[in-house]
């Protein structure tokens, strides 16, 4: 169940820029848990105090040619999927 994860314009202070992470996970929550091992401090930023995905970020989920958003932690992830974590943009 290899899932690739990239970070775009977020968490530079955690050293994730331009790096590709590979984790084994079936849900977004598991993906974040696995990433936390490689990137200590990530989960605290990405999951809010209510245990939900922090609303300031978007998780873009690419499955084959289809792209969608993972907005909940129980979002299913499959082998070969790509996850990109970005800030929620609101105009520049």
């Amino acid at each position: 169940m290899a899932v690739t994860v990239r970070f775009v314009s977020v968490f530079r202070d955690l050293g994730v820029s331009r790096r590709l992470f590979v984790v084994e996970a079936e849900t977004l929550e598991k993906t974040i848990d696995e990433l936390e091992v490689q990137i200590p401090g990530l989960k605290e930023k990405l999951v809010d105090s209510h245990g939900r995905l922090h609303p300031a970020y978007q998780v873009i989920h690419t499955k084959g040619n289809r792209q969608g958003l993972c907005s909940k932690l129980d979002c299913p992830i499959a082998d070969g999927d790509e996850i990109v974590i970005t800030p929620l943009i609101s105009g520049g």
Partner: protein, 617 residues
């Protein structure tokens, strides 16, 4: 009157006369301030059909009730005039401390009318208003004016100025604030130039009374705490607005090659991480804002770039980068610096250069016509054409008119790639991947404006803005529900933020400046008992006043359109295949006009005018 000085300053440059006028509480409560004051004053006092560059046009600099506070960008002001670019209502917001400085001189608004016989500048203090000779400043860049006037005056004077582009009446010339903040859009600098007004310097010490300072202090403390601790502003603090570049590319909404594409192959050279690694020299903030979104840049090679003039924000990076296929962070920053020194709006400049490049590529403009070989992505060509535009040299003269007039002048089908709405060049969010923004561009009172309505992206999650009824997610590419969303957020985010004024960034969900808190802030400062409903109605009133101004100038539904290019599908990226066809836009317009209470032609109905306490033109 709490929150206000209660006085407007009127300077007639033709007569060399200075007057003051009292503000009454009904006027202030009905329009709040900033853009609200400006649009009302122009609507009431400007004859229809006036040439924007004639002495008859008015240039209004207006603060709002929150301007006296150091609170999330509230110290800024709105600059409002009839735009030389669109010949419709024009406003441009200026951050920094200039609204507060105007209030400290004793005025809520400054109205400049007429035109001086020779170049002048205004000096405002809380004891005097002087019209001074600016002969030695004429022809100088914004930085040179800043340097001369800083030396001439005691410390603490704030300086608004225009560069050579404003003097040359470039239709998208901007106004500089201390060469660090810019009122970029809609040619306010050209209006200033037409009045022979090179600069305004201000310094005062008058206090503005606050109705409940302790309550306001507590609210500011609460919001500052959330900004610093709730994580909603973290990426804006760390990346500035450069946090938009990579995600826009990923979503396929990054204007590239004059909107022919929506993703940029060399994004890694110019995204937020690239800019931070290569040219960032720190950040800068508006008074009282803990976010610090403004980036300062510095470079020695291959171009020397001074950190004194700030740095390019997202819109500028995209307009002078992917839009013209430039993938060099240092060259983009240099192009930004030149625009700042010459006094050009960077968005209009980038889109106009892209238009010229497409003309060149298609053989519509030859190298001889242009006086140079202008090719996509060439930094030297881009820097050269910026100077030519600013000084109206050669082909720069026709490009200085903006893409609408330039394409009408050049002809040969070039109207098809002149990317504007109502004459205002389109900013850096391709609307095919954001259907609400498409409608917002089409209907904004000042033309294609990226700050006129909240972006679709923020409504892709639950509970985005419950105060306005937005609880369920809405996809950014969907049409359903967008007309009402655009109407509501135009009134709130587009208008009321510029009336208070307050920065739009901390207002964008999920950030902490919620509508109810804005109402509280307004009431704490003014002592009013405004409800959320009344607050939103003021936004609606100001928006409709702007529409009435435009209707009086001849605008109707036919101007609420988008360029044909957006009816072509985007070729790739995450918005691949997305379009905005004329039929889809017309359907959204029908629904939007219904929500606005406008006729099918886009004119506010009698019933709407009555509800908003407005009169037909």
């Amino acid at each position: 009157m709490y929150g206000f000085q209660g006085t407007m300053l009127i300077v007639d440059l033709t007569q060399g006369k200075v007057l003051t006028e009292k503000l009454d509480e009904r006027f202030t409560r009905n329009h709040i301030g900033g853009v609200g004051f400006g649009i009302r004053l122009l609507y009431d006092r400007l004859e229809p059909g006036v040439d924007p560059l004639s002495p008859e046009n008015m240039l209004v600099f207006a603060s709002g009730p929150l301007s006296a506070l150091g609170f999330m960008g509230s110290t800024g002001m709105s600059i409002v005039s009839k735009s030389p670019l669109t010949k419709l209502i024009g406003d441009s917001d200026l951050r920094g401390s200039f609204g507060r400085d105007l209030k400290s001189c004793g005025y809520d608004a400054l109205i400049v009318t007429g035109s001086a016989k020779s170049p002048v500048y205004l000096e405002l203090t809380d004891g005097s208003v002087q019209i001074k000779d600016a002969g030695d400043l004429w022809g100088k860049t914004t930085a040179e004016v800043q340097s001369i006037l800083s030396r001439r005056n005691e410390k603490g004077f704030r300086i608004l100025s225009i560069g050579p582009a404003g003097e040359k009446l470039v239709k998208y010339a901007c106004i500089s604030g201390d060469v660090r903040f810019f009122a970029g859009r809609l040619g306010m600098g050209a209006v200033m130039g037409a009045k022979n007004l090179k600069a305004i310097v201000m310094k005062g010490e008058k206090e503005t009374p606050i109705a409940d300072p302790q309550a306001m202090k507590n609210l500011m403390k609460e919001i500052h705490y959330e900004v610093l601790h709730d994580g909603s502003c973290d990426t804006l603090s760390k990346y500035g607005t450069w946090n938009n570049t990579g995600p826009s590319n990923l979503k396929g909404t990054l204007p590239t090659k004059n909107f022919q594409r929506t993703t940029f192959d060399e994004i890694d050279q110019i995204d937020g991480d690239a800019m931070l690694s290569r040219i960032s020299a720190g950040d800068r903030t508006c008074p009282g804002c803990p976010i610090g979104c403004r980036r300062v840049v510095k470079s020695e090679q291959p171009y020397r770039i001074s950190p004194q003039y700030g740095g390019p924000q997202y819109e500028t990076v995209a307009a002078l980068g992917p839009t013209v296929l430039l993938a060099d962070a240092v060259a983009i920053a240099k192009a930004n610096e030149l625009c700042n020194l010459y006094g050009l709006d960077t968005i209009s400049t980038g889109v106009t250069i892209a238009f010229a490049m497409e003309c060149s590529e298609k053989g519509v403009l030859t190298d001889k016509d242009l006086g140079m070989h202008l090719k996509w992505g060439d930094p030297e060509g881009i820097l050269q054409i910026i100077r030519m535009i600013a000084f109206r040299e050669g082909a720069g003269d026709v490009l200085a008119e903006g893409v609408k007039r330039a394409s009408e002048n050049i002809g040969r089908g070039s109207e098809e790639w002149a990317m504007h709405v109502k004459g205002l060049e389109i900013p850096m969010h391709d609307p095919r991947g954001k259907k609400g923004i498409a409608l917002a561009y089409a209907t904004a009172i000042k033309g294609a404006d990226h700050e006129s309505a909240m972006h679709d992206d923020v409504f892709e999650r639950e509970n985005a803005l419950p105060e306005l009824g937005y609880v369920k997610p809405m996809g950014r590419k969907e049409y359903q529900g967008k007309p009402l969303l655009v109407k509501k957020t135009q009134d709130l985010w587009g208008i009321l933020s510029d009336a208070l004024p307050i920065c739009k960034f901390p207002m964008a969900p999920p950030r902490p400046l919620k509508p109810n808190r804005l109402v509280s802030a307004l009431n704490f400062v003014t002592g009013w008992d405004v409800s959320l409903e009344e607050f939103l109605r003021v936004g609606e009133r100001i928006f409709n006043l702007g529409r009435l101004f435009n209707v009086r100038e001849g605008a109707d539904r036919t101007l609420d359109m988008l360029p044909n290019r957006f009816s072509e599908p985007t070729p790739g990226g995450a918005s691949a295949g997305e379009t905005i066809t004329k039929e889809n836009l017309e359907r959204m317009l029908d629904e939007y006009y219904d929500h606005r209470g406008w006729s099918k032609d886009g004119v506010p109905t009698e019933e709407t005018l009555k509800r908003l306490e407005l009169k037909a033109p």
